[in-house]
Symmetry: C2
Subunit: 200 residues, 2 copies
C-alpha cells in the first residue's frame, strides 16, 4: 500500500513542513472528511503557502494514501512492540488486542480516516484489511503448528479476531453503551470468549 510517489524528505526543515501538512490533513479529513477538504484547506490549516503542498505530495489522494499506509504501519508497529515480550499465543493475543484498543483511544481519528477509504477508493479499503489479515494468518498458523491453537480455518479466524477488536475499539472510542473506561475488564471478557467460548 506504501505510495512510492512520495519521498519522505531528509532535511530537518523539509521534514517539519512535511509533518505539519500531514497533521493538518489528518485533522481536516477527520473533521470534514476527505471530499470536504481541499488542498487549499490543508495548506491554510498547516500555515504554509499553497504551492508548498506540491513540493511534497503530488495530489490530495497521494497524501491520503500516505496517511492510510502510515496508520496501518503504526498500528502494527505498536501492537508488535507490546506482543514481542510475550511467550504464548494467548498472551500475545491479549497484549495485541489491548494495544489496538489503546492505539484507537489515543488516535480517535483512526476509524474515520481508515473507513473513509471505502468511499474514496474501495480497493484501498480491501487492501487495508486483506493485508492486515495476511499478517494475522501467519501468527495463527504458527500457533496451530506448535499446538497452542485449535486447527480452525486461520483466514476466517483472522476476520473473527479483527471484527472483535475493531468493534470493541469502536465501542470504547465512540463510547457506545456503558462502562467504556475499564479497558482491562473489556479485554478480560474478550479473552474469556476466545479461550473458552460463550456457551456452557
Amino acid at each position: 500500500m506504501q505510495d512510492h510517489s512520495i519521498e519522505t524528505p531528509t532535511t530537518r526543515n523539509a521534514k517539519n513542513t512535511f509533518e505539519v501538512i500531514e497533521k493538518a490533513a489528518i485533522k481536516l479529513f477527520y473533521k470534514r472528511g476527505y471530499h470536504g477538504t481541499t488542498v487549499k484547506d490543508i495548506t491554510a490549516e498547516a500555515g504554509v503557502a499553497a504551492g508548498t503542498f506540491y513540493l511534497y505530495f503530488p495530489s490530495k489522494i497521494a497524501l491520503y494514501k500516505h496517511i492510510l499506509s502510515n496508520f496501518s504501519h503504526n498500528i502494527r508497529k505498536h501492537i508488535a512492540e507490546q506482543v514481542r515480550s510475550k511467550d504464548t499465543r494467548i498472551e500475545k493475543e491479549r497484549a495485541g488486542i489491548k494495544a489496538f484498543i489503546y492505539y484507537a483511544q489515543k488516535n480517535p481519528e483512526m476509524y474515520n480516516i481508515i473507513w473513509e477509504s471505502l468511499y474514496i477508493d474501495r480497493a484501498l479499503f480491501k487492501d487495508y484489511y486483506e493485508s492486515f489479515a495476511v499478517r494475522y494468518v501467519n501468527g495463527l498458523e504458527a500457533a496451530k503448528q506448535n499446538g497452542e491453537m485449535r486447527p480452525l480455518d486461520s483466514e476466517v479466524v483472522s476476520f473473527i479476531l479483527m471484527g472483535i477488536t475493531n468493534f470493541i475499539g469502536l465501542k470504547v472510542v465512540f463510547d457506545l453503551g456503558e462502562n467504556n473506561t475499564d479497558v482491562d475488564h473489556i479485554v478480560d471478557v474478550i479473552m474469556e470468549v476466545i479461550k473458552h467460548g460463550l456457551f456452557k
Copy 2:
C-alpha cells in the same frame, strides 16, 4: 431512529413514487456517496419531476435517515424470521449470523450506506450500533438466565458478536481473502469459536 417527519403514503401511486425515489437514492448513495448525491440527482435517477421529492421527503437527510432506519428494521426482521423456529440460544445464534451474512450478500450497498452515517452525523452511527446492541443484550441475558450461556458481561459480548458478524459479512460481501462462496463453512468456523474458543 425512525424519522417521524416522513409519512409513508397510503395510495398505490404515491407508494410507488415513494419507493422509486427511495431505490434511486440507495443506488446513488451507494455509487457516489451521500455528499456526492443531490436531490436533483435522485429525482433524475427516479424519473420524477424535481419538485416531487419534497411531497414525500422534507430533505435529503430525512430520506437518508429513513433509509438507514429501514436497513436496521429489515436486518432485524430478516434475522428474527430465521431465528424464530430455533429452540436453543446456540441454534438461534447460528441462524442469526447466517441470516445476517445472507442479508449482506443480497444487499451489498448496506455497509456503505450504514457506515457513511459516521461521516453524515456521528450520532446516527452511534445510535445505529447502540440500538442493535441493546436488543442483542436482551437475548444474551435470557440465555444466561436459563443457563445456556456463561455469565459474561452481555454488553461486551454483544459488541464481540456484532464485530464477528460484521467483519465476516464484510469478508464475504467485499470478497476479502479466499473462499468466500462457502458461507456454511464460514459459519461453522464462527460457531466453533463461540462454542469452544480458539485455544487448546
